[in-house]
């Protein structure tokens, strides 16, 4: 009886610790929204902090939307992300499939090269890529952000792992029917790749949407700024003045992603876990 009691107390204690720490983690978001609705926070941040502003108004949000730059940056980010994701996923599907089912010379070596790409950081490539896109006059366009997505070693690796689990017998059946390799891929295997494609979309979406250093280097034109670039330039310009506006801006840039995450949380968490477990 007392053992059961102790277990129950332990259970409540665990739940309590998790709840307290969870609230601490969420506090910055709650405060962000609250200050965003506080017009006077542009002059002096409300202190002591309060959950509901004394003089709540949508003033800061009106300014953020009327200014228009955030909406423009959302559109830019959306365009870049969607095209990058499409390019990354289709290229990785093709390569992952070939590395899984293909029989050709140098397969192992080429796959090792793909794995090596995972080790190469962005920094040493920054200047040559900048010069490369400068030489073809593509700086301050979206091309430098989209084109390099064609190679993503992580996605190829995950995709190969996925196709490895599918049996070869389907292939052999189609081969006997005289189907070519491309036909087999598009009509037999690609339709089966839904789950891994979803994972790849999620992972490359997160990567592309949050990309910062490379866009910062190639996009000096403010009209082309993506969301992270706009946020950074606003933040560097204003420092810790204009608290209300900054928090309204942060809210509008963060909330849609949070809502999207809450809808897709199962798939997103699964994808992240997959990239970690398989990456071991």
């Amino acid at each position: 009886m007392s053992y059961k009691k102790a277990e129950k107390i332990g259970m409540y204690l665990k739940f309590f610790i998790l709840l307290v720490f969870g609230i601490l983690l969420m506090a910055p978001f709650v405060w962000m929204v609250s200050v965003g609705f506080d017009r006077s926070a542009n002059i002096a941040m409300p202190f002591p902090p309060r959950l509901f502003p004394d003089d709540a108004s949508g003033f800061n949000f009106t300014i953020v939307f009327e200014n228009g730059r955030l909406i423009q940056s959302y559109l830019n980010s959306a365009f870049v992300t969607v095209t990058s994701v499409m390019l990354a996923v289709s290229s990785a599907l093709l390569a992952g499939y070939a590395f899984s089912k293909g029989k050709f010379k140098g397969k192992r070596l080429l796959f090792v090269i793909v794995l090596c790409t995972l080790m190469i950081p962005m920094e040493p490539r920054l200047i040559p890529l900048y010069k490369l896109f400068n030489s073809v006059d593509l700086l301050n366009t979206f091309w430098p952000l989209i084109l390099p997505s064609i190679i993503n070693g992580m996605l190829i690796f995950l995709c190969k792992q996925f196709f490895d689990q599918l049996p070869d017998t389907i292939r052999e059946a189609a081969q006997i029917d005289g189907a070519g390799e491309f036909k087999i891929f598009f009509q037999v295997y690609a339709p089966l790749a839904g789950p891994i494609a979803a994972t790849m979309v999620i992972l490359s979406f997160i990567g592309s949407w949050n990309d910062f250093l490379w866009p910062l280097v190639v996009l000096s034109n403010q009209e082309l700024h993506t969301v992270p670039l706009y946020l950074a330039s606003f933040s560097l310009e204003n420092g810790t003045s204009l608290g209300g506006l900054t928090m309204a801006l942060a809210t509008v840039s963060v909330l849609p992603i949070i809502v999207l995450y809450l809808f897709l949380q199962r798939y997103i968490i699964q994808s992240i876990a997959l990239s970690g477990v398989k990456g071991e």
Partner: protein, 310 residues
């Protein structure tokens, strides 16, 4: 095995001369290379070429248009430059504390979530939430959250009687502001990875321990932790690779020079400052190569260390 078996059966039926069979095989091989064209075009253009070009540039004095070969002078400039070593120090300082705090803490919370009978999914979603927001937006929020006079962190610290800090307005504490932000942002990732691997530990081991009378805590200590070696190794390696490349949040909080007083300028920020505010491409390239080597050596050491644990 099954494949070979099938081939043996299929071959006698085909009744094709050996030569044309070989030709067909070659044609099939070529098709496979077509599948790889997009990826390898990308590798050549966006990975292999830049790596070599950057190596070449590190021996030149260059501003993008005029180039002059100067041998190892760029490396000498970087390796004797105080701001560079300062940025290395900052990068490692922030990285060490971020990892040393976030990994154990994340693992403990993953274990708690894993063992709580109610609200498992709720906590998982909540704890991962900071990680889905971009680090740039998070840094923007944290500039206010950590404000010495008006921020909520100092307010909370004072309310429970703990000493407050000047955070980002003082060079001696600014690195801890970045560490706090990094832990807040990264811990959800650690929890998700740990949870996935916690659930992969076979329940039979726990049952056997339970029969032997092991308490929950003993099970955690002697079954869970030893079984998580691979996970910790993964987190250590990815954590360090990320930490050594840190740029986004320090740029938002302190600009390219990592103010106050270069106290949060990381290696990435140093490279950005020299390369894209000063347009000293040669010096920046040499610095990227030194950074690249540091990352490779450090990853190698991490691999060795974590293998010893396994």
């Amino acid at each position: 095995m099954a494949k070979d078996h099938l081939k043996v059966i299929a071959q006698p039926d085909q009744q094709v001369p050996v030569g044309s069979h070989k030709q067909r095989k070659r044609k099939v091989q070529v098709t496979w290379y077509l599948f790889l064209i997009p990826s390898f075009l990308g590798i050549l253009l966006f990975l292999v070429y830049p790596i070599f070009e950057s190596f070449r540039l590190s021996f030149y004095q260059s501003n993008g248009t005029i180039e002059k070969f100067i041998g190892l002078q760029n490396f000498q400039t970087v390796l004797t430059s105080q701001p560079f070593w300062n940025s290395v120090w900052n990068t490692f300082y922030i990285g060490i504390f971020q990892i040393a705090i976030a990994v154990p803490l994340g693992f403990i919370f993953a274990s708690l979530i894993n063992s709580t009978p109610k609200g498992k999914n709720f906590f998982k979603v909540i704890y991962f939430l900071p990680n889905v927001t971009s680090i740039v937006a998070a840094a923007m929020i944290f500039a206010f959250v950590l404000h010495p006079e008006m921020g909520i962190v100092n307010y909370a610290l004072e309310a429970v009687g703990l000493p407050t800090s000047k955070w980002l307005s003082d060079p001696s504490s600014s690195k801890w502001a970045v560490i706090l932000l990094a832990v807040w942002h990264w811990i959800g990732f650690i929890i998700i990875i740990c949870l996935a691997n916690l659930q992969a530990i076979s329940p039979e081991m726990y049952e056997a321990a339970k029969i032997d009378g092991a308490s929950g805590f003993q099970q955690w200590l002697f079954i869970t932790i030893p079984n998580m070696g691979g996970t910790f190794a993964f987190l250590l390696i990815t954590g360090w690779i990320g930490a050594l490349q840190r740029f986004n949040e320090v740029y938002v909080l302190g600009g390219p020079s990592g103010s106050p007083a270069r106290s949060i300028q990381t290696m990435g920020a140093f490279i950005y400052e020299r390369g894209f505010t000063g347009f000293e491409f040669g010096i920046a390239s040499a610095a990227t190569y030194i950074m690249f080597m540091i990352i490779l050596v450090f990853t190698f050491i991490n691999l060795k260390v974590s293998k010893m644990k396994l």
